[in-house]
């Protein structure tokens, strides 16, 4: 393991940023979100949760796909510029790091999303352990260890130092490049102490032991038809807050935009909570907010696991718990539907 004094981090950032697009939790107008670092950026590694998850680094809110030019009856295609830049994302928490694996399942299996795939391949993930988990965290329910965040490199901040441990080849490669900024750290006890502190806190968290056992693919119809969805969803505004702050939500829309000389086709985040999500010329398969609400949670808790070996499409980051305008969230769903035995 290696360590670096926190006050030397800016130099490390600027070194990494020379060869890579470096993404860090950056403070801007009251919020902390992952953003590309530059020398004026205000980095906030202490923020437990960025408002948005880290997914935009791989799956940006909008992604240009292809550009068309139309001339009379003819159409020509401009192939898109692929994201070839090397990227480093620094300060990812265990839950967000885990979300990348879930997104991989969605985006790389079957027809792989080449933009996502390429960004994933070009990116080195430096994670950071959560020193101070909060009441909405329930990563433990999904077997995520916030004290050992994994990724290509794991880091911990203890007593003014950032402790650094590469986990993968990509991590080692990055470590080799930046090793001059670090001092060797033979004593793991500081990190280990923090880890046990973190685990102790997490054990005490109210949602850590939430019961997911009810959510299995074979209960699909039973859960789907539960009468409780109505009351659960009735305050839902149909906004996209939960889906847009969620690290695992992956729905998107494909849209065209007429530019000055052509048509830009792009992909952008969409939300299954939006009223027009499934609306088409023939009608709407999910016309009520209850149905849309149910879809979102059924997807996370039943459909996705059914297609991916029982893995839930939720990492317990608790963003939806804290950000829903009307305080509806997945935990309330899990608890309410999980009650039925």
């Amino acid at each position: 393991m290696m360590k670096i004094s926190l006050k030397n981090l800016p130099e490390l950032y600027s070194f990494i940023a020379k060869k890579n697009d470096l993404y860090l939790p950056i403070f801007k107008a009251g919020q902390v979100d992952f953003a590309k670092w530059d020398k004026d950026a205000i980095v906030d590694l202490n923020k437990l949760k960025t408002t948005k998850s880290a997914k935009d680094v791989f799956f940006p809110q909008s992604q240009d796909l292809v550009r068309f030019e139309v001339d009379g009856k003819k159409i020509s295609i401009d192939e898109p510029i692929m994201p070839t830049n090397k990227q480093v994302i620094f300060g990812v928490k265990a839950c967000d790091n885990r979300s990348f694996e879930l997104l991989d399942m969605a985006f790389v299996e079957d027809y792989p999303d080449t933009f996502y795939e390429m960004r994933r391949a070009n990116t080195t993930i430096v994670t950071l352990a959560c020193a101070k988990p909060d009441e909405a965290c329930f990563c433990k329910a999904y077997g995520i260890d916030a004290a050992d965040p994994k990724g290509d490199v794991s880091t911990w901040i203890v007593d003014g130092y950032l402790h650094w441990m590469p986990n993968t080849d990509k991590g080692i490669e990055l470590t080799t490049e930046v090793k001059d900024f670090f001092e060797l750290d033979m004593d793991n006890s500081a990190v280990e102490n923090q880890q046990s502190e973190i685990r102790a806190i997490i054990d005490r968290l109210p949602y850590s032991n939430i019961d997911l056992s009810k959510f299995t693919p074979d209960k699909l119809l039973e859960l789907f038809n539960s009468p409780k969805w109505k009351a659960l969803s009735e305050a839902c505004l149909g906004c996209g807050t939960c889906t847009f702050v969620c690290p695992t939500c992956q729905c998107y829309d494909v849209k065209d935009f007429k530019t000055k000389t052509g048509v830009q086709r792009f992909k952008c985040w969409d939300s299954c909570m939006f009223a027009d999500f499934t609306k088409c010329a023939h009608g709407n398969t999910r016309p009520s907010q209850m149905q849309r609400y149910r879809q979102r949670f059924m997807h996370k808790l039943v459909y996705f696991p059914s297609n991916h070996d029982g893995v839930y499409s939720c990492v317990g980051c608790g963003r939806c718990v804290q950000k829903c305008p009307q305080m509806l969230n997945i935990v309330k769903v899990i608890k309410t539907l999980g009650e039925d035995k």
């Binding site: 139309v70 007429k258 000055k260 709407n284 009520s288």
Partner: protein, 661 residues
């Protein structure tokens, strides 16, 4: 695929000189959906229109763009042709490449480039245009004529003779207007009263004409074919049904100090009065500002002398609401206030008078029984100076910039009549130019100079001052290049004319556009001279601009013909470009109705199918006969449910996009 045809007009050299029409045609051909593009010298010509009709048929066009003059000029022409050729008239768009392009840009390249953008924009719009069908509205077969001067009288008579009801609203107690105050009329020198009076009698006798004298229009609502006017009939304090016009009251009235408006204030009249002998209606009116009874409650003499018992001190203003299909504006004119022309001494010297006062002074029914005297001391004037263009054609703030048009002729008339009646008087006329276009006008003027020896001096009068009971006129003779001092007995000012002071109010009421001088604007300066741009409003006489009696009568007749044409229809095609709500998006919030100036929007509860049942929602509906298509509602509507046919959000945005490309 929608097929669009494009025509590019040369308009002779009007467009072709600064726009490369061939280049525009070529550029249009490249636009999507354009299957046909051609240029022609005059598309508005019959040949041009035939070409257009042929192209519509041959190419099965779904839309046509004409790059030509302003749509305000020929849009209607093109639409008619399209309709004849089987294309919905609203599938026509005009790209204004003359007024907005060739006429204002000198550079061919610049002009062509802009013309292409304008053409492209029109193509973008026509592609989104939808065929529109105009609705129909009923026509109220009655006309309103505002103003009872010769213009109003003539219009009313012509309309009534065609069999339609007419109401004349005149603010004064009698109709007749300015013409009734005139003595003789140029160039024939007939007596004004002799030719006007029979018309006034005709009006009063006409069964189709209703006179609201001493009345004013208070408010007008509605639209062409369906106007509703509120008329305030001011209290005369005389029951017109009973008054016989015997004038006994006038004789006995103790309050005789009011200035007589009819005689231009040169003498006085009683508080109860009939303005002049031939007044129509021949009914008395009490001037509430002068009547002792009304002011103090004491007197009541007129009531006592009136054998018909017509006097009613309790009478109140009455509001009458009437419906009309068309409105003729004949509000006439006034002469300007000369207070600001101190140098000419009008306010200070009694012997400086206006031409209108001169008319009254020479009129046999006037204050002097037609005996011309100096108002100051009653002597007969020996030397008279006429000053032209007082307040006309000037650049000072108190001046009107326009020519008052009638002064040259009436001054010639005055001078001639003077010299004829009083050959011993010397008559001088100071002028800037003498303008005498018109049949027999110049001959008339030349007679004044040549036959009657009137001294015409090109030059301006700088000053008129009173000196020893005479007037010293200081002027310059521009041709002789010398300063003149003329000792005159009487100075007559040809004061500029201006729109009547009520015109602005009436214009606003009618939403009829007016120019900066408060003259009503015609729909087209040449081709629609008697129509206001506001449908159903017609212009008669001086309200539209200075003109003499023959012109006024001609215009009055023309306006009447337009009214007759309108009223002879049972229904009118409504404006097809009306608001139309999409009820699937309508919130029923009523915001559109709050801004609708016509009250065209109403609401109904309607059932809508929603998942799992039926929901009742309040939605808006537009009465297409009432909607005039302003579009105020479309912006008040948040959801965009309310759109304006012919100017839809999508169409306008397509135009914006096309321009900004």
């Amino acid at each position: 695929m929608k097929k669009i045809g494009v025509f590019v007009c040369w308009c002779g050299s009007n467009i072709a000189a600064t726009v490369d029409v061939k280049a525009v045609v070529e550029a249009c051909k490249k636009e999507p959906n354009v299957v046909f593009a051609e240029d022609y010298q005059y598309i508005c010509s019959e040949i041009g229109q035939n070409k257009m009709a042929d192209a519509i048929r041959d190419y099965k066009l779904d839309g046509v763009v004409i790059c030509s003059c302003s749509p305000r000029m020929h849009e209607a022409t093109f639409r008619k042709t399209a309709e004849k050729a089987g294309l919905n008239p609203y599938m026509i768009e005009v790209a204004n490449i003359r007024e907005q392009c060739s006429w204002i840009h000198k550079d061919i390249e610049e002009g062509t480039e802009k013309a292409i953008v304008l053409a492209r924009t029109a193509i973008a719009k026509v592609l989104l245009n939808a065929p529109l069908q105009a609705g129909e509205s009923k026509v109220t077969k009655r006309a309103l004529v505002i103003g009872g001067g010769i213009a109003g009288i003539q219009s009313a008579l012509d309309i009534a003779d065609a069999g339609f009801e007419v109401d004349i609203v005149e603010k004064k107690p009698s109709i007749g207007g300015k013409m009734s105050q005139l003595d003789k009329t140029f160039p024939t020198l007939d007596c004004s009263a002799c030719i006007l009076t029979p018309k006034m009698v005709d009006v009063s006798a006409h069964e189709k004409i209703n006179i609201f004298a001493y009345s004013e229009v208070e408010a007008v609502s509605g639209f062409v074919g369906n106007f509703t006017a509120k008329i305030r009939q001011k209290a005369r304090y005389v029951d017109t049904a009973k008054c016989t016009g015997c004038r006994a009251c006038m004789e006995k009235c103790p309050s005789k100090k009011s200035l007589n408006e009819f005689n231009a204030g040169l003498d006085t009249r009683p508080a109860i009065y009939i303005p002049f002998a031939q007044a129509v209606p021949n009914k008395a009116t009490i001037d509430p500002n002068a009547c002792i009874k009304l002011k103090t409650g004491k007197c009541g003499i007129c009531s006592k002398v009136c054998t018909a018992g017509a006097i009613d001190y309790e009478q109140k203003d009455q509001i009458i609401e009437r419906e009309y299909g068309a409105i003729v504006v004949a509000t006439g004119y006034n002469i300007i206030n000369l207070d600001k022309f101190n140098e000419l001494g009008y306010s200070d010297c009694k012997d400086v008078i206006t031409s209108l006062e001169f008319e009254r002074l020479t009129n046999a029914a006037g204050p002097t029984k037609g005996h011309l005297i100096c108002p100051s001391d009653g002597r007969e004037p020996k030397k008279i100076v006429f000053v032209q263009c007082v307040g006309s054609r000037g650049l000072r703030p108190c001046d009107k910039q326009y020519c008052s048009k009638i002064c040259c002729m009436y001054t010639a008339k005055h001078a001639m009549l003077l010299r004829e009646k009083h050959p011993e008087t010397e008559v001088y006329v100071f002028y800037i130019d003498v303008r005498t276009p018109g049949k027999n006008y110049d001959e008339f003027y030349r007679r004044a100079v040549e036959q009657y020896g009137v001294h015409y001096i090109k030059g301006q009068v700088g000053k008129v001052i009173e000196k020893d009971g005479h007037l010293e006129v200081q002027a310059s003779d521009l041709l002789a290049d010398e300063q003149l001092h003329i000792d005159a007995d009487l100075v007559v000012l040809a004061a500029a004319i201006e729109a009547d002071d009520t015109a602005r109010k009436i214009g606003t009421m009618l939403t009829a556009s007016m120019d900066t001088n408060d003259f009503f604007t015609e729909a087209h300066a040449k081709l629609k001279p008697v129509e206001s741009p506001t449908a159903g409003i017609f212009l008669s006489g001086m309200c539209q601009g200075p003109k003499d009696i023959p012109d006024t009568v001609a215009q009055a007749g023309a306006a009447a013909v337009k009214v007759i044409g309108l009223l002879s229809k049972d229904t009118l095609k409504c404006n097809a470009c009306v608001a139309s709500p999409n009820e699937n998006m309508c919130n029923g919030c009523s915001l559109c109705a709050t801004v609708c100036p016509y009250g065209a929007i109403t609401y109904v509860d309607k059932e809508f199918r929603i998942p799992g049942g039926v929901q009742v929602r309040r939605v808006s509906q537009v009465n297409e006969a009432i909607c005039q298509g302003c579009g105020a509602c479309t912006v008040a509507c948040m959801s965009g449910a309310m759109d304006l046919k012919g100017f839809t959000n999508k169409e306008i945005m397509a135009e914006v996009e096309s321009i900004c490309k």
